[in-house]
Symmetry: C2
Subunit: 558 residues, 2 copies
C-alpha cells in the first residue's frame, strides 16, 4: 500500500509513525513544503523568551536524535520529501502533483491512501507597513530564531492580537525585558479562552506587573522611519511607539489543496471529516490543524486547531489506514497557557458561547487557594464553571491564577467528556493532601457554589455587577466581612460600605439596615457566603455575596 501524507510538522509524522507500526510493508511518504519537519511548534515562544536556549531542542527526540529526513528513513522507514510543495490532487488517477522548491522540478506521486495534514497558516491582516524592518511573526522556527536574535532589552514592542499566540509572544518579550503593549480589536484579551470577567481580571493583574493592554482598539497600520524601520503602530485611538512589532492575529486552516481537489469544506472553513477522519473522498484522510471537529458539548462543528488534537488524530488516522476502524470522538477546545506567572486554562464552552448556543446557564466564579492555606507555597486561583441550568450538566470551565489551575481544568475536561453534572463534579474522589490540594478541591467547591445557586441556598453577584451597581446612586449596603486589619489595607471606597467582621456579625446584626439590599464581600467569597446565610437566616430579604471576592475584583481599590 502506498500512503502519501501531505504535511510534516505535527499530525503528519504522527500518522506516518502509527501507520508504520501497524503496516510494516507499506510505502509511506511525507511531503513537506518547509525545510523543517516534525518540530514542536508549541515551543516557539519559549525560544524567544530564552527559556529554551537552543532551538534545536524543538527538533530532537528526548534521546537526542534529530527528527530529520534521515531519522524518518532509519527509524520509521518513512520517506520525507521536504522543501516540496503538493500543488494538486488528481483523485481519479490517485496522484499528487509535486514541485520541488529547491530545483523547481515538477512530478507526480501515486497513492492508494492520501492524508492531508496541511496545518494552518497565520492570518495576516492587510495593513500598510507590514514590510517594515522590525515587523515579525512567530509561526515557524525561522521566525522564532530571527526574533530571538534581533530583540534587545528595553525596546518598545507592540503585539497586534491578544489571542493565545499574541499573549504568548507578549509573555516571551516581557521575559526578555522589553516594554510590551498588546493591541486587540475585541473588548477583551484571550477571547477564545476566557469569558469577559476572567479576561478582565487577568488583564488587570498583568497590567499591575507591567504589561500594557489596549483592548477594543483597531490597528490601522504601521509607520516607519527613513531607513524602513518600524516606529509606530497607528490605531483608531491614537498611535503607539514601536521598535518591534509582532503580528499575531490568528490562524486559518490551509485548505486550498483540498478545495481545489473538490473535497468538502466545512462550515467553519476547515476540511470536513467524519469520525474516521475521512474527507468526502474515503481514500483521503485529513488530520490536525486543517480539519473541522465536532464539539463534544454542543455537538456543533468547530475549528479549534490544537496540538493535542493533532496528536490524537494522527493515531486514529494511522489505525484507519491499517484497517483498524477507530473513531475520533471530538474536541472540547481544552487550552492552557502560561503568561508571566499566570496559568490560564479553559475547556468546553464559555458563558457567552453557551448562551449563544441556546443554553440557559448558571455560572459560578470562585477564588480559592490551590493547596492547603497553611502549606508553604500555596497560591491563588480563580475558577469559573458554566452549567446548564435545567440539567445541571457541566458545559465548560475556565480558570486563571498563579496557582495550579491546569489540574482542575483537566478534571473538568474529563467530566465534560463523560457529560458529567455539577453533582458528579462535587462527588469525585480527587487527590487530597496539603502539598497538592485543599480538603475540598477548588473545582468541587465551585461546583458546590453552582449547586447552592441552583438550590436557592446561595444568591450571588459578580464583580462586574457590583461595579456597575456602585456606579449607580442606588441605595444598598456593601457589607465587607473581613477583619478591620484586612479592611484598612485596601477596600472599596464608597459610603455604602459597612465593615463588620464575620465573627461579630451574629452579635451585631442590629447594625445592618433591614430595609436595604445587602451585598456581602470578602477576599475569596467563603466568608461572604457565610455572612449571606447568616443574614438570610435572620430574615434579611435581599442578600447576595460577591463571587470570587476581592481576589476576583478587576478594578481599583482604595
Amino acid at each position: 500500500m502506498r500512503i502519501v501524507i501531505i504535511g510534516g510538522v505535527t499530525a503528519g509524522p504522527k500518522v506516518a509513525a502509527r501507520a508504520r507500526r501497524l503496516l510494516p510493508d507499506a510505502d509511506i511518504t511525507i511531503i513537506e513544503r518547509g525545510g523543517l519537519i516534525s518540530y514542536a511548534g508549541c515551543g516557539l515562544p519559549y525560544v524567544v523568551s530564552g527559556q529554551i536556549r537552543d532551538i534545536n531542542q524543538l527538533f530532537i527526540t528526548s534521546y537526542g536524535a534529530k527528527r530529520d529526513e534521515q531519522y524518518f528513513a532509519n527509524e520509521k522507514a518513512v520517506r520525507v520529501l521536504s522543501r516540496t510543495e503538493a500543488t494538486a490532487i488528481d483523485r481519479n488517477k490517485r496522484e499528487v502533483a509535486l514541485t520541488s522548491l529547491e530545483s523547481g522540478e515538477t512530478y507526480t506521486i501515486p497513492y492508494d491512501k492520501l492524508v492531508l495534514a496541511t496545518g494552518a497558516g497565520p492570518f495576516v491582516p492587510p495593513l500598510p507597513g507590514l514590510e517594515l524592518k522590525g515587523v515579525h511573526r512567530l509561526n515557524n522556527p525561522e521566525d522564532a530564531r530571527e526574533l530571538a536574535d534581533q530583540l534587545t532589552a528595553g525596546q518598545e514592542a507592540v503585539i497586534i492580537g491578544a489571542g493565545v499566540a499574541g499573549m504568548a509572544a507578549a509573555a516571551a518579550l516581557i521575559k526578555r525585558k522589553l516594554a510590551v503593549s498588546v493591541v486587540e480589536a475585541q473588548e477583551q484579551i484571550l477571547p477564545a479562552m476566557l469569558d469577559r470577567d476572567l479576561a478582565a481580571l487577568l488583564a488587570y493583574r498583568l497590567e499591575e506587573v507591567g504589561l500594557e493592554m489596549h483592548t477594543g482598539r483597531q490597528v490601522l497600520g504601521l509607520e516607519g522611519d527613513a531607513e524602513g524601520k518600524v516606529t509606530r503602530v497607528t490605531t483608531d485611538q491614537g498611535s503607539l511607539a514601536a521598535e518591534l512589532v509582532i503580528i499575531a492575529v490568528g490562524a486559518r486552516p490551509n485548505v486550498e489543496l483540498a478545495r481545489r481537489a473538490g473535497l468538502t469544506i466545512g462550515v467553519t472553513g476547515a476540511v470536513a471529516v467524519n469520525a474516521y477522519l475521512e474527507t468526502s473522498d474515503p481514500d483521503i484522510y485529513a488530520v490536525g490543524d486543517c480539519v473541522e471537529n465536532r464539539h463534544l458539548v454542543s455537538g456543533q462543528p468547530v475549528y479549534l486547531p490544537l496540538a493535542g488534537t493533532a496528536g490524537k488524530q494522527g493515531r486514529v488516522a494511522g489505525d484507519n489506514l491499517a484497517g483498524r476502524r477507530t473513531t475520533f470522538k471530538g474536541v472540547l477546545g481544552t487550552s492552557v497557557m502560561k503568561i508571566m506567572d499566570w496559568n490560564v486554562a479553559c475547556t468546553g464552552l464559555g458563558e457567552d458561547q453557551a448562551r449563544s448556543l441556546g443554553y440557559e446557564t448558571v455560572c459560578a466564579v470562585n477564588a480559592a487557594h490551590d493547596r492547603a492555606h497553611y502549606f508553604p507555597g500555596h497560591d491563588n486561583i480563580i475558577l469559573k464553571l458554566v452549567v446548564d441550568k435545567s440539567s445541571g450538566r457541566l458545559l465548560g470551565a475556565q480558570g486563571v491564577g498563579q496557582g495550579d489551575v491546569v489540574k482542575r481544568i483537566d478534571t473538568a475536561a474529563t467530566a465534560l467528556f463523560f457529560g458529567g453534572t455539577v453533582d458528579d463534579l462535587a462527588s469525585l474522589d480527587l487527590d487530597n493532601a496539603p502539598p497538592y490540594n485543599t480538603p475540598i478541591d477548588p473545582l468541587q467547591e465551585t461546583a458546590n457554589i453552582v449547586r447552592n445557586k441552583l438550590d436557592g441556598v446561595a444568591a450571588t453577584m459578580t464583580a462586574g455587577q457590583l461595579h456597575d451597581l456602585l456606579a449607580t446612586g442606588e441605595d444598598f449596603v456593601l457589607l465587607d466581612v473581613r477583619t478591620p486589619e484586612q479592611f484598612k489595607y485596601r477596600y472599596v471606597g464608597d459610603p455604602r460600605v459597612i465593615q463588620l467582621a464575620l465573627g461579630e456579625l451574629r452579635a451585631r446584626l442590629a447594625e445592618i439596615p433591614r430595609d436595604k439590599p445587602v451585598v456581602t464581600i470578602c477576599p475569596l467569597g467563603t466568608r461572604a457566603y457565610e455572612a449571606m446565610r447568616i443574614l438570610t437566616g435572620a430574615g434579611f430579604r435581599d442578600v447576595r455575596f460577591v463571587e470570587g471576592g476581592l481576589q476576583g475584583w478587576p478594578y481599583d481599590l482604595d
Copy 2:
C-alpha cells in the same frame, strides 16, 4: 431541631457548618473528647518536618481566625463541648450520656438527630517496650509538637510501619536530617497505595537517596537502656539501633459507641451507613473516618478513611439533616502523598486487588516525562493502569515520580467515577502546552499501551519478569536500543545483552538471532516498543518490550 454531633476534628465541624447554613434555627452541639477541634490532621507530618513552622497554622482559617469554641459560637452559632466524652447513646430516649474530662461531671444531652463523627484511632500493636522514652506516635497535634521538639539531627530513627502514615513520618524525619529506617511486616512499602512493582521502584529510589527500608520484617519489641530510653528495635531478622521510634501501624475506626448503641457495624469493622449516610437508626448519621464506604469500582464495602471523603460526607449529612435528600456516591480510595522529592498517588483498584475481586486484568506501566522534554524543569513519572480485560474499563491507576503524577491520577479518578474505558481515557481532551504536559498526556500514552496490548499490537514484559528471566539460564536476547553513549553509562550486565541503537536497527536486523526470543529495552519504553514493532514487522516471532524501561527498573545496573 436539636442536632448533636459526636466528634469535632474533620467531618463533625463540616456537618455542623453545613447544617447551620441550611437550618438557621437549629440547636447544634459538637461533642469532642480532645481539647482541640477542627484541625488539619493531614498537616501533622509537616509540623514535624518543619515545613509548617507554627502548629497553630493547623487550627486557624485562611484569614487568621482560630477555630476554637469561641469561633464556632460566634461564626457558626454552634456550641462545642470539648474535653467531653460521649459514653453512651440511649436511642429510645434520644439522649447521649456525657462525661466532662475536666471535672468528671456526667450528664445527658437530648437530640432529635445525632451524627457520629468519631473518627479513627491508631492501631498500636502489643509490643514490649512501648512505654520507653523516645517512642512516639503521630496521631494528633500534641504528638506532632512533642516529636518536633524532641528530635535532633543525626539521631537514628526507626519507623514501624511503611503505610501512608509511616512513610510520611519517615519523610518528615529525613527532612530534619535524622538517619531513618522503616520496618514493615509486609513485603512492600505502601501496600494500600501501590502494587508491588511500583512499590519496589519507589523503595529502590528512596534507598538510593538514603532512606533505609526493611520490608518483610516483623517487629518483636523495643529495647531500652537503664534510663528507660529506647535503644533498639528487635525484629524477626535482627535488631536495629534506635534513638527514636515512631509507631505508625495503621488506623482503626472508633466504633465502640456505635456498637454499644446497637448500630450495625459493617463487614470492614466500620459503622455501616446507607447512601444518605444514615446508620441502621435513621435518626443517627455517621460520617468520616468511622464509616464504611462503597467502592465505586467494585461496588464492595471498604474501609478507606480519607480526609476528602470526610469533607464531602459532612456536606451530604448536613443536607440530609436539613431535609434535602442527598446521597454520597462512594469512594475510589484516591490517595496522594509526597515522600522526599517523590510524588505518590493512586486511585481505584490495584492489580492484585482487582484480581482477587475476580477481574481478569490487563495492565501497563509507562515511564514518561511529565512535561515537554525540551522544556526546562520537566521530570520523570511512572504510571500504571489496571484495566478490565473483557470490557476495557479502567479499574485503577497509580503513579510515582518526581514529576507531576497527581494531575494524572485526578484525571484517572474522574474517568473511574464515570466508568470510563481505556478508549475513553485516550480520547480525553486534556491540557497541552510545554510548561504543563507532553503532546500526548502520559496517562493517555499509558492507555494507548493498554490498547495496544489488548489489540495484540504490543507484547510486553514487566521489569520484574525480566529480572526473573535474567536469573534463569534461559537463552534469549535482551536488545538494548539506546545509543552507545547512553548504554555505557549504565546497563544490564549480562552476556545475553545486545546493544544496537534504534536508528540502526532496520539496517542491521541480520545481527539479531531469529531463533531466540527477543526482549527490547530503552530508558522509558518508547524506543523499545518501536523496536518491537520493527522486529515483529520483519517476521521475528517472539518479541516483547520492557514496560517502563530502565526508568522503571528497580534493580542494580552495571
